[in-house]
Amino acid sequence: MTVEINSLKQIRFFEKYTDEQLGKIAAISSVREFRVKEIIFDQYDELSEVFVLLSGSLSLGITVPPDKRIHLGSIEEGHLFSWSAVFYPYISTAWVIAVTPAKVISIDARKLDAEIEKDCDFGFKTMSKIAQTISHRLSDTRFQLMNQLNL
C-alpha cells in the first residue's frame, strides 16, 4: 500500500517537513499491517526498515537470557520505532510485537540514508527527530529503572 503526502502531514513525527521532503519520504515508504501477537521484529534482528505507528498498539521489550521476555513499554500512534535501522550495524536492541491489529508506515532505511546524504536540511530534520526519539527512550528507561529499584 502506498503512502500519500497528506496522510504523512497528519502524523506528528512528520511535522516541520516541507511538502517536497514529505514527497521523498512517501516515495520510499509503504503501509504494512500486522496481526495481534505478530512480531514486527525481534531483538538482534538486522533491520532494514524504520517504522512509524499509524494505528493500533505495539509492545516493546527485551529478552533476557535464557528466554525471559521483559515488556518495557508501549509504542503509541504517531511514534517512530526501529531507529536501529538507520545506524550501523543496524541490529535491533529490542523486540516489538503487535498488541492489537496495527498499521505502520515502513520507510526503507537504506533509501532514507541516501536521502539524508543528498539533502542536508532533510538529513538534519530526520536525524534530530530520531535523536529525540532515542533521547526520550533513554530518559524513560532511566526513570523506569530508578522506579523499579525504588531509588
Binding site: 503509541e76 511514534h79 524513560d140 526513570f143 523506569q144 522506579n147
Partner: protein
C-alpha cells in the same frame, strides 16, 4: 497559616465518616470537622491520631467544600499504618492549613498541563476540582498520570469523569501492565509526547515521587516550558508547619511555610530539590 482557627498549634477535631480503599497501600479518609475548615488547593494539613502522632498531607477534596475534608493516605510507616487501621467513627485531628498552595488565579486564560505520579494525584485531585470550578476562565486542562501498576492507580473513576468535562483531557499509563490493562505502558513522562499544548500560553504542574518530578521537569523544559511556568508541589518531611522546626528546609526555603508549591525557577538551585 491557619485560617479559621485562632490557635495554629491546636488540632481541630474531625470525625472519620468513611474510608475508601484506593489501592492496596492507599486509602482516602473522609472527615467531618467539628467546624468549617477552609483551605486553598495545594496547601497541606497535619493529620493526627491522638496518642500516636501526626503526619502532613495535602487534602484531595475540593476547597469549595468546607464541611467535609478528604485526605488520601499512603501506608508508609508507623503513623500512617495506624491510620489505615481506623474505622468510621474514629476521631482524628486536623492542624492547619499551612503553606502556599497553587496560585490558581495566575492560571486564568491559560492551558494547564498537569503531570502526576503515584500518590501525587491526591493534591492534583483537589486542584482539578478547583480548575473545574473556574473552567470558564481556562483554555484547557490536561492530566497525564502514571502509576506503577493498574491496581496502584488511585481515583480510577476520576479519569472517565474528567474526559467527559469540556476542556479537560486525562491520560493514564502504567509502568508494569497486567492482563486487564490495554492502555499505554511506560513512565508518566511518556504521555507528554502526545499532548498538544500552546506552551507560550500554558503552565505546567508536577506532583509525584521525587524521581518523577525530576524527569518530568526535565521533559517539560525540553518541550519549551520556562522555569517560571512550571509549578512543583514539594514534599519534604514537613513537621511543625510553621517554619520553626527546620525539618523541611530546602536551601533557603522552609517547604512548609514558603511552599509546598514552588515554581521551578524559585528552587532550581537548591541542592536538595530532588532528594
Amino acid at each position: 497559616m491557619a485560617g479559621q482557627h485562632n490557635n495554629i498549634y491546636k488540632p481541630l477535631r474531625a470525625t472519620l465518616e468513611e474510608v475508601i480503599e484506593e489501592s492496596p497501600l492507599i486509602k482516602t479518609f473522609v472527615l467531618i470537622p467539628d467546624e468549617e475548615f477552609i483551605f486553598r488547593t495545594g496547601q497541606f494539613i497535619e493529620l493526627s491520631v491522638e496518642g500516636v502522632g501526626e503526619a502532613p498531607f495535602t487534602p484531595s477534596s475540593s476547597p469549595l467544600v468546607t464541611d467535609r475534608l478528604e485526605v488520601t493516605v499512603m501506608k508508609t510507616g508507623y503513623v500512617t499504618g495506624i491510620m489505615h487501621e481506623l474505622k468510621p467513627g474514629a476521631v482524628m485531628g486536623i492542624r492547619g492549613p499551612y503553606g502556599r498552595g497553587y496560585p490558581v488565579t495566575r492560571f486564568s486564560g491559560k492551558e494547564v498541563l498537569i503531570l502526576g505520579g503515584g500518590c501525587g494525584l491526591a493534591p492534583i485531585r483537589s486542584l482539578l476540582f478547583t480548575l473545574e470550578h473556574m473552567k470558564a476562565d481556562l483554555e484547557k486542562v490536561i492530566l497525564c498520570y502514571g502509576s506503577k501498576t493498574p491496581a496502584d492507580c488511585i481515583y480510577k473513576p476520576l479519569f472517565s469523569r474528567l474526559n467527559s468535562i469540556d476542556k479537560f483531557e486525562a491520560y493514564r499509563t502504567v509502568d508494569v501492565t497486567d492482563d486487564e490493562w490495554d492502555g499505554p505502558v511506560g513512565v508518566a513522562t511518556k504521555l507528554l509526547d502526545n499532548v498538544r499544548v500552546n506552551i507560550d500560553n500554558s503552565v505546567a504542574v508536577v506532583c509525584g515521587p521525587p524521581i518523577m518530578m525530576k524527569f518530568g521537569t526535565i521533559r517539560l523544559l525540553e518541550m519549551g516550558y520556562r522555569d517560571d511556568q512550571i509549578y512543583l508541589s514539594m514534599e519534604k518531611n514537613m513537621s511543625c508547619g510553621l517554619g520553626k522546626c527546620g525539618h523541611c528546609m530546602m536551601g533557603e526555603f522552609f517547604v512548609c511555610k514558603d511552599g509546598p508549591v514552588f515554581t521551578y525557577n524559585e528552587i532550581k538551585h537548591s541542592p536538595e530539590i530532588w532528594k
